[in-house]
């Protein structure tokens, strides 16, 4: 929640002339954050399901470049959406009145009667129409069906849509084209259906996959559409499915429930029709937002009242702007009153901290703002896939060239032979024309491009994704979340990540605050940091009760914690347990801690706070609340204590509090020392102070403050000034330390990833202090690391700072230095501008750690884009909130943290995992495996096809370039669908060069895949070259073997197909064995695939040679089985030729394995050696000395890292002073300010039941 609130703050602080830009960014990001249904659609989402699109980038680009189109309604929010944020300073009036929800007159967001909706302001297309909804008269309303539909197909649309999708792929078009030209008579050398058939098979496999995926989507849709909503129809409450909710329905939503459609808030269980909503699904802000129903409806608390309600709601036509809503409600017998965004509850948001609300449905289904913001996810293609496509294009060129060469050679040959070779009847029938001959050759060589590659890849990736889903190590039991690959086409990309951009809250941290330590009167309390338990220090209790010299201070300290806050207690009816409601987790933690220690905050009334100190009730009158703001960095309350004294209690950042201390302080030095200590542990600290205020001083100040808080102009500033008057001469009581709990295993994961040369950048919307804190606690920053802090406020300053920093780096620039860069959103905005971009990037890349704080969601996406484009590196973004959606979609790979309530990020991500630490397994194991498997699979698929089809070319040389094929036509077309389909599958699914454990323990292994060493242009063409060599051997050796034709002792001779089948058999055997040679781990499935493929060909040969004349198919195969298998030459060749082919590959592999041993081979050997020793019953018996030595040896050889700053390098200039670990989260400038919010509560009163 801290993040969300900071963003708010940011947008307020921008200078006016720049406000629009920032605001647009924010809004659109928020808009972009909206999405598909709140439930996971458990599909492997290949870019098709409805999710959010990053509108923000387009918008902001336009705004930045100054191209503002007046007719573009998307720019409208510039003026309007800031309403909820800035309304407060203007109308902060101590009690909630009607004015509260009236829009701020300064903002162009005034209620206008609908009639002149297109009045003086720029005409907006969506204002030209309006919608009228009659309350309690659903039959009069026109309503869009309230349905969620993420599925792609239904029974009717499946075939056309599917075919359209498929034939958008080049490869499929190509093969379709081949199938078509095969229909031309006399052109095809391979018959008419030999391409169509495999193509059909492949399309069927794809169709099956699509159907499975779409079926899952249908089920997910049904789950949402069939959710239950409580609707008041007629005179009673009925439960209907979401899909049956129509406009004008009166619905009741209970706490924790999602809104089924866009609603107008009528009333709620809370005072003044207030309610909390969580909009993280829509805009990514995790702090709760207040919404308030209109005064005229706030008393509709019972069903009967609703039933008798008549009237209508007018509202603007549906649009996608989340923070914009104009409408009015016209109740019978009353005049129309305006409605604004404060009364609008959006579909996708969730009701929180509120018993229930009543609302009228206004927008349903596709008209909801959520749906209007949904578009399809950008299609992401992996690096490997792109490279593959380029190579396919090159191969296509090769194919055309080869065909041209053959066609020309054919003409030449025919020209020379036409008049002489009478048996070829050229005199009777002329040779076909050049074009047709060319087509013949294109058909002949079409399978140089592997027809099955696409579908094999799809299937393999699909199953790889399932393996990810199945991974037990990535299962997070507390939330019952298994990892989920939502797309399968990026598996190999996971193996190539160089940069990770991580969100902080919810990703690195749990967003749970724990009170860990405190320093009271110079004494530090708290258990040591390893303890996972809550704060518990008996010493403190002892000191408190034993009349210790500091006992009074301790008491005061605890009272302050229990009194000075804006928390609202709620007593659970059944258990009597008190639950604290707050938009600030820090405050909740402090109040919670006070309760634990016997100072229980029990009741809040508009004027007082009641606490129970060890069971004894004490009432503190709250005179004033001076709110927290990130400028003030403190919050304080003025209270009248039970003894009648007036006191000011303050908690805030140490820097702020120390400035205002009375001059003589007993413990200021020791407390400062403690603060430093806390900060070094990565704890968030607050200083606690108080001051006694004499009655007369307070009376005087009270007036000043009242004036300030009711002034029309500069209220904020005046309040601050007024606060300064009283917040001085403070007496320091001590300090608190709150732990922002990290997710499990975060530091370890960061370390492992850094060992794999993956750089982690933290991009957070949170404050700088918080971010630095977390940086320390998760080891991203270390104590001896230099920090560069950039928070310049203008473009010029930023540029200057960047240039200076860059110069400071000197030679070390571009290397990874032990320096941490911290930059805040404001400076980042300048740093990302065109002329600073390069410098910023240079500096950022020279730092070991980069933390960007207070960044907007859009900036997150921009940073990702910057690194992605400038570094040509593969990036991964990980986050949990909707504010991360932008970067998740911008990065090559987006990972969402799932299992929490806001599933937004998970929905737009490519992979969803339960915990940050699972990233290790996902990248180091699944990523690296997928990459190496798919690389092999792709290379091998090309290899096997080229191997077979280039043979056709060699055969052309001896048959006069006539286009005759050497093999039987159906054996060729089954090559890719039967005989050699299994080895690549086995390779793609089961190959591994060492176990998952070893991969995890040796992150250095990741570098192979990261650097793309296994699949690049060079490797590709080496494989192609190799396959050409193989094809030469595979054709010419059998040919020379049979050159005398006589193959049997009975004197019989063979024919062309006899040779062809020899060659074909050798090809199948060779490529299958080659697959074996490339396989590192032979599981039984691999054995099955390799040997099975070979056997399948022999079986096919035997069956196929005997089908004629039963089936009139391939008479030329008759007897082939008998004569081939009965021919000694065949068997001798079978022994010789594949081994001759593979001898080179084999010995090269051996040579490399011995001579140029790579890291992975070494690790592999060690692993195997270990396994063997375990098997032999003698686990390692090396002395520890040896291990240490080994570790040293390895760290110098295997894990050598990029150069660091030489010790002599110029010292990096000292960082600016940063406060000690201070960080605090609190909603600022919300719809209802905290100070007024708490005044509305009287927790002694019962809440309405709402029935």
């Amino acid at each position: 929640m801290a993040e969300g609130q900071d963003k708010t703050d940011l947008s307020v602080r921008v200078p006016d002339n720049e406000r629009s830009g920032t605001s647009v960014d924010r809004l659109d990001l928020a808009a972009s954050a909206t999405t598909a249904p709140p439930a996971i659609s458990p599909s492997l989402n290949t870019a098709t399901s409805v999710t959010a699109v990053n509108l923000g980038q387009v918008e902001s680009a336009r705004t930045r470049s100054g191209l503002i189109h007046a007719d573009d309604n998307s720019l409208r929010p510039v003026a309007t959406h800031v309403v909820p944020n800035v309304s407060h300073p203007v109308d902060a009036i101590p009690l909630i009145e009607e004015e509260m929800i009236l829009p701020n007159p300064l903002v162009k967001y005034e209620y206008r009667p609908m009639e002149d909706g297109q009045g003086s302001e720029a005409p907006e297309p969506h204002h030209q129409s309006q919608q009228v909804i009659y309350i309690n008269a659903p039959e009069r309303n026109h309503s869009e069906i309230n349905i969620t539909c993420t599925s792609k197909y239904n029974f009717l649309t499946f075939l056309p849509k599917f075919l359209f999708e498929q034939f958008r792929k080049y490869a499929n078009i190509f093969f379709l084209f081949i199938s078509l030209i095969q229909q031309i008579p006399n052109v095809s050398p391979t018959g008419r259906y030999t391409t169509a058939f495999p193509l059909l098979l492949i399309l069927m496999v794809s169709a099956l996959k699509e159907i499975i995926e779409d079926f899952k989507r249908h089920r997910a849709d049904d789950e949402i559409n069939n959710r239950k909503a409580h609707v008041h129809r007629g005179d009673k409450w009925v439960t209907v499915k979401w899909v049956d909710v129509v406009a004008g329905d009166l619905v009741k939503i209970c706490n924790g429930g999602f809104f089924p459609a866009d609603l107008i808030l009528l009333s709620s269980s809370e005072p003044q029709a207030m309610c909390y909503v969580e909009t993280s699904n829509l805009d990514g802000e995790t702090n709760l937002k207040l919404r308030q129903g209109h005064r005229v409806t706030k008393d509709l608390l019972r069903g009967e009242e609703l039933a008798s309600l008549r009237g209508m709601v007018e509202c603007e036509a549906p649009n996608r702007h989340l923070y914009e809503f104009v409408g009015n409600i016209h109740l019978e017998g009353q005049s129309a009153v305006p409605l604004g965004p404060n009364q609008l509850l959006l579909r996708g948001a969730m009701l929180r901290n509120t018993g229930w609300v009543f609302g009228i449905v206004v927008y349903t289904g596709l008209h909801t703002k959520l749906m209007l913001n949904s578009t399809s996810t950008p299609l992401k293609r992996s690096n490997v896939e792109k490279l593959t496509n380029t190579q396919i294009l090159l191969l296509f060129v090769l194919l055309v060239v080869l065909s041209l060469v053959c066609a020309v050679a054919n003409s030449v040959w025919s020209g020379r032979h036409a008049h002489n070779d009478w048996y070829l009847f050229f005199d009777v029938e002329a040779e076909s024309n050049f074009g047709l001959t060319l087509l013949t050759f294109i058909i002949l060589y079409n399978n140089l491009i592997p027809i099955s590659l696409q579908v094999t890849l799809e299937v393999v990736k699909f199953i790889q994704a399932i393996f990810i889903n199945w991974d037990l190590d990535m299962y997070y039991a507390p939330t019952d979340t298994a990892a989920m690959a939502r797309t399968s086409n990026l598996n190999e990309e996971l193996g190539q990540i160089e940069y990770i951009f991580s969100d902080k809250t919810g990703t690195l941290t749990q967003n749970i605050m724990d009170f860990r330590k405190c320093s009271i009167a110079g004494i530090c309390y708290g258990n040591n940091e390893e303890s996972k338990d809550a704060f518990n220090d008996p010493t403190m209790m002892y000191n408190l009760h034993s009349q210790h010299v500091t006992a009074d201070t301790i008491r005061e300290f605890m009272v302050l914690l229990a009194v000075c806050h804006t928390v609202v207690p709620e007593i659970h009816h059944d258990t009597g347990e008190i639950v604290y409601l707050s938009s600030s987790p820090d405050e909740a933690a402090l109040v919670q801690a006070a309760r634990q220690l016997g100072f229980v905050f029990t009741t809040r009334t508009p004027e007082t706070v009641e606490i129970e100190v060890f069971g004894k009730k004490e009432v503190y009158e709250i005179l004033n609340v001076i709110e927290f703001s990130s400028d003030r960095k403190r919050m304080s309350v003025v209270v009248r204590c039970p003894d009648g004294k007036i006191k000011l209690y303050v908690k805030g950042a140490d820097s702020v509090v120390y400035e205002r201390l009375e001059e003589t302080q007993l413990y200021s030095d020791i407390t400062l020392q403690h603060l430093e200590e806390f900060a070094s542990l990565g704890l968030r600290t607050l200083c606690i102070a108080k001051v006694d205020i004499p009655e007369d001083v307070y009376e005087e100040w009270k007036h000043t403050y009242y004036k300030a808080s009711t002034s029309i102009h500069d209220r904020e500033k005046k309040i601050e000034e007024a606060a300064e008057l009283i917040e001085r001469n403070l007496v320091l009581l001590g300090a608190t330390a709150i732990e922002d709990k990290l997710q499990d295993g975060v530091p370890e994961t960061i370390l492992k990833l850094s060992m794999a040369d993956i750089k982690l950048w933290v991009l957070t919307g949170d404050k700088q202090e918080t971010a630095i804190n977390i940086g320390y606690s998760c080891q991203l920053l270390t104590q001896n690391m230099e920090l560069i802090i950039l928070n310049e406020r203008s473009l010029d300053e930023t540029r200057e700072a960047l240039v200076k920093r860059k110069a400071d780096f000197g030679d070390a620039l571009g290397k990874v230095n032990d320096v941490g860069l911290i930059i805040d959103g404001e400076a980042l905005r300048h740093a990302l501008s065109c002329d600073c971009r390069k410098d910023f990037l240079d500096i950022a890349l020279s730092c070991k750690s980069v933390i960007c704080c207070r960044v907007s969601p859009l900036q997150k996406a921009e940073i990702v884009d910057l690194v992605k484009n400038a570094q040509k590196a593969i990036t991964l973004a990980i986050g949990d909130g909707a504010n991360d959606v932008g970067m998740i979609q911008a990065a090559h790979v987006g990972v969402g943290i799932s299992g929490l309530e806001g599933l937004q990020a998970a929905h737009s991500s490519d992979y969803a995992i339960g915990q940050f630490r699972f990233l290790q397994k996902l990248l180091l194991v699944h990523g690296a495996w997928s990459y190496s498997r798919l690389s092999k699979l792709i290379l091998y698929s090309f290899y096997k096809n080229i191997c077979l089809y280039v043979i056709e070319f060699w055969f052309q040389i001896v048959n006069g370039f006539s286009g005759q094929i050497l093999f039987e036509r159906w054996s060729i077309s089954l090559y890719n669908v039967i005989f050699t389909v299994a080895p690549p599958l086995a390779m793609g699914l089961f190959d591994r060069f060492c176990s998952a454990e070893t991969m995890m323990k040796n992150p250095a292994l990741y570098k192979d895949s990261q650097k793309g060493r296994l699949f690049n242009v060079k490797v590709f063409w080496v494989w192609i070259g190799n396959s050409i060599i193989h094809s030469i051997l595979l054709f010419w050796m059998p040919m020379l073997m049979l050159t005398q034709d006589v193959a049997f002792s009975s004197g019989l001779v063979g024919d062309y197909l006899f040779l062809g089948n020899f060659v074909y058999t050798y090809v199948v055997v060779t490529v299958c064995l080659k697959a074996g040679l490339e396989t590192n781990a032979w599981t039984w499935l691999t054995h099955l695939a390799i040997w099975g493929s070979i056997v399948s060909w022999f079986l096919f040969l035997v069956v196929y040679s005997n089908v004629y004349p039963l089936v009139r198919l391939s008479p030329e195969m008759v007897g082939m089985d008998r004569y081939m298998l009965g021919c000694w030459l065949f068997w001798l060749g079978l022994l010789l030729i594949p081994s001759a082919c593979l001898l080179r590959d084999f010995s090269w592999k051996v040579f490399k394995g011995t001579y140029f041993k790579s890291t992975r081979q070494r690790v592999q050997e060690v692993e195997l050696a270990k396994k063997e020793s375990v098997i032999n019953g003698s686990p390692r018996k090396k002395s520890s000395r040896l291990i240490t030595e080994r570790a040293r040896l390895l760290s110098s050889t295997l894990f050598g890292r990029a150069g660091r700053v030489p010790s002599s390098s110029p010292p990096v200039p000292p960082s600016p002073e940063i406060p000690h670990g201070y960080a605090f989260s609190q909603e600022e400038f919300g719809a209802v300010p905290q100070a007024e919010y708490i005044r509305a509560y009287d927790t002694n009163k019962d809440k309405p039941e709402g029935l």
Partner: protein, 379 residues
Amino acid sequence: MATNGNGDISQDSVEEKPKSRKPKDTKFKQQKLPAWQPILTANTVLPALFAIGIAFIPLGVALLVTSNNIKELVYDYTHCNSSTTSGTCAEFFQNTSQTGETCTCVVTLTLDEDFTGSVYMYYGLTNFYQNHRRYVRSRDDNQLHGDVISYSDLNDDCDPYKTVSDNGTTMGIAPCGAIANSLFNDTFALVYQGSPNEAVGLLNTGIAWVSDKNVKFGNPSDWQKSTYTKPPNWKIPVWNLSLTEESNNGYKNEDLIVWMRTSALPTFRKLYRRINHNGTTFSNGLPKGDYQVTISYHYPVTAFEGTKSIILTTTSWLGGKNPFLGIAYLVVGSLCIVLGVVFLVIHLKWGKRVTNFVTSMEGDPSDLPLGRDRVLSNS
């Protein structure tokens, strides 16, 4: 989310999920299937390389010896002198355009040594592209199988030898297509010049694949002689190919069957006759000496610069004489030995270092980055 105190409220709305999403812990699903992981290094493959080398070289030698023991005689009679007209038969055919004419050559073949065992007689053609696409396709297998079909149903690929039109009547060609039309039609008679001269018995059956003769080729129940005619280049219709031997007549004629198996290369030989070894003189093969061959010379090959030969050969279990396989085995075997030696040298020279390295790393790979893990636990 907003507070850490309201967890119990929100739990009310969380549905109970009875079914856990926990993945199953099976070896397959966790990708822990046991696997054989061969490691190829010099020392591990040395035995294999030497073994292959040692196996292949003797095998190669054996194959070479086998091939060399085969006796083979090739006689190119393309330009044989005609015994009926002046000049060579090739010239004779160049000068007369009549295909019906016969030219006869009488040539003498000399066997320098005894051809023991079964001897086979082949004709060989060169520069004859039986593997040309338009040639290979030009046949109708249904017709050859003996199906009774009307000539219009013949395979279009047979064109231009599918039908002939004569005075307005269209007749189908039996067998249709270019392959059949260009059937090799030279005939040979072989006489041993001994004392006395003795004609060598030539068997015209058993020269085709059994499967072809029994399965693929068959005679139709009705020759449809009214609608079918002989191919243009033929002298006699197919149903008269062997009037004496019904089993060798029509499509089942083995000369035709042999010809119909189109060769892989433009230089090829096809089995013409088996030598009949039933008599006393030739029971052990063909004795050395002179043989007179009377060639009925019909087939024109000079037009396409081809040659015709007559080949007499014995066979081994490997078929005809072909040293290639033996040589290939020797080469591959030697390569294996050479590679083995190279790797042995590498192993002796470098292997020690490598092995030391490996043994020094033996143990748990998890130890490797130990240093860092320790650093971590401190913080």
